[in-house]
Amino acid sequence: MSNVRVAGTGLTSFGNSPERTSRDLFAEASITAFEDSEVPREDVEAVLYGNFMGELSEHQGHQGPLMAEAAGVQAPATRYESACASSGTAVREAVTRIRNGENDVLLVGGAERMTNLGTAGATEALAIAADDLWEVRAGVTFPGAYALMARAYFEEFGGEREDLAHIAVKNHENALSNDKAQYQKAIDVSDVLEAPPVSEPLGLYDACPISDGASALVLTSESYADDHDLEAPVSITGTGQGGDRMALHDREHLARSPAAREAGEEAYADAGVDAGDVDLAEVHDCFTIAEVLALEALDLEPIGEGISAARDGRTTGDGETPINLSGGLKAKGHPVGATGASQIAEVTDLLAGEHPNSEYVDGATTGVAHNAGGTVASATVHVLEVSDR
């Protein structure tokens, strides 16, 4: 099966820009991706776009064609919605289409406008990723759902808030060199422990920020890349998706992510790699506990041991397997619909040696991107490898 080349990547700065429309954000990201790829816009055969809360944040549905227009592409366009995994599912669909020969050139990405809603409005908008009847109406918020999982993890496997704090500290440290990150500010463990509680045991610094931003990728078939002499050394070699029951209370385990495990196993098998081959990963750390659950689901840490990975230095920049060298959702920011494709962009740039933090992973050949929706009722995992250097 033909690999899928990442020909170009484009990201806006993630952060606080309430006045910017998502069409403006996506236009900027796509311009960068096209410039990076040297692929002409007229070669794009379709636009696959991820977005979650557009109806609530800017009263805009039917965003596919709007975003194709913003990117200057005349091609069919579809919006993909899987909560925080929206653009991860868009990437997966694009990979599938290119592999089966349906398309050679696709523009894939996502955007989210969130800060214009304010904290309460964004909290409400994010909550609709949970079951409205049985969770939201009982007062479950997005941080609240992860707090339920964090407490369940502590009860089942041990660990404490201080262990989680090391994850936040690590990801802030990684973001210092990422000039597109929302927070370029070092923090220490006491900052995290002393921050105001959001949903106990999680506090303000255990949570990703509310962010505006966009991501874009130009993906091509191997034959198109070769025929056009593209400089595109990184391929997506594996894709996987998993699903789970919507409401947290309907799951057997409250402290594990079976959907992410399913996605990871599928993606590893697809690429012909295993967890031991992974040199670096961008995982969906919307909350500190989410990074722990992701590492265990991806077999990068044994079940029950992911909690100590950051504290003991296994996942820091100079650790065995650096995790979230971009700063992660935690420090880079989490414009929901943009996140999955932005992770692919970060892994691509890290593997290509074009990332400010590439020095930590010199010679790396295999990276993984893990994107989760809601309380991980949806998950996509992609494996990226250097195929040509």
């Binding site: 009982a138 007062g139 479950v140 941080p143 999982m149 407490r151 369940a152 999680l202 029951r245």
Partner: protein, 131 residues
């Protein structure tokens, strides 16, 4: 929730809340014994469409909980409040803990179902009271 939406009933769910408020909470049981919550026409575990109402057990145990300080606007006046996932045997539920100091909430706590009213919106809320 906007005012317009609150005027419209949610078939299955609203009836369940009303029954629960009268002390007659139920769950759905399929031909293979799987429990689930309404509204539902198909068992999510096995696909059976043969679903019958059964009485929810009187008490359940707290599996996990959180105390939320930053609520959605629908619970602005209620925060801080404790939310718990409670195991009732055939099904689990998520609800707000009432009748207990927040610092005394712990996993394993035995609770019974009670339908309360949100201080913010006046809407019914699925709640849980220690027995």
């Amino acid at each position: 929730m906007t005012d317009g939406e609150s005027d419209v009933a949610d078939a299955g769910f609203d009836e369940w809340l009303a029954a629960a408020a009268d002390g007659d909470a139920t769950y759905l049981e399929c031909a293979n014994g799987h429990g689930s919550l309404p509204p539902r026409r198909v068992c999510p575990d096995c696909g059976s469409t043969d679903l019958a109402e059964a009485d929810l057990p009187d008490t359940g145990d707290v599996r996990t909980f959180t105390v939320t300080h930053v609520p959605t606007p629908a619970f602005a006046e209620d925060a801080p409040y404790a939310t718990a996932v409670v195991d009732f045997g055939p099904v689990s539920l998520t609800g707000q803990l009432v009748g207990i100091d927040l610092e005394d909430v712990e996993t394993g706590l035995t609770v019974e179902l009670e339908i309360t009213v949100s201080e913010t919106t006046g809407e019914r809320v699925l709640s849980l009271r220690p027995v």
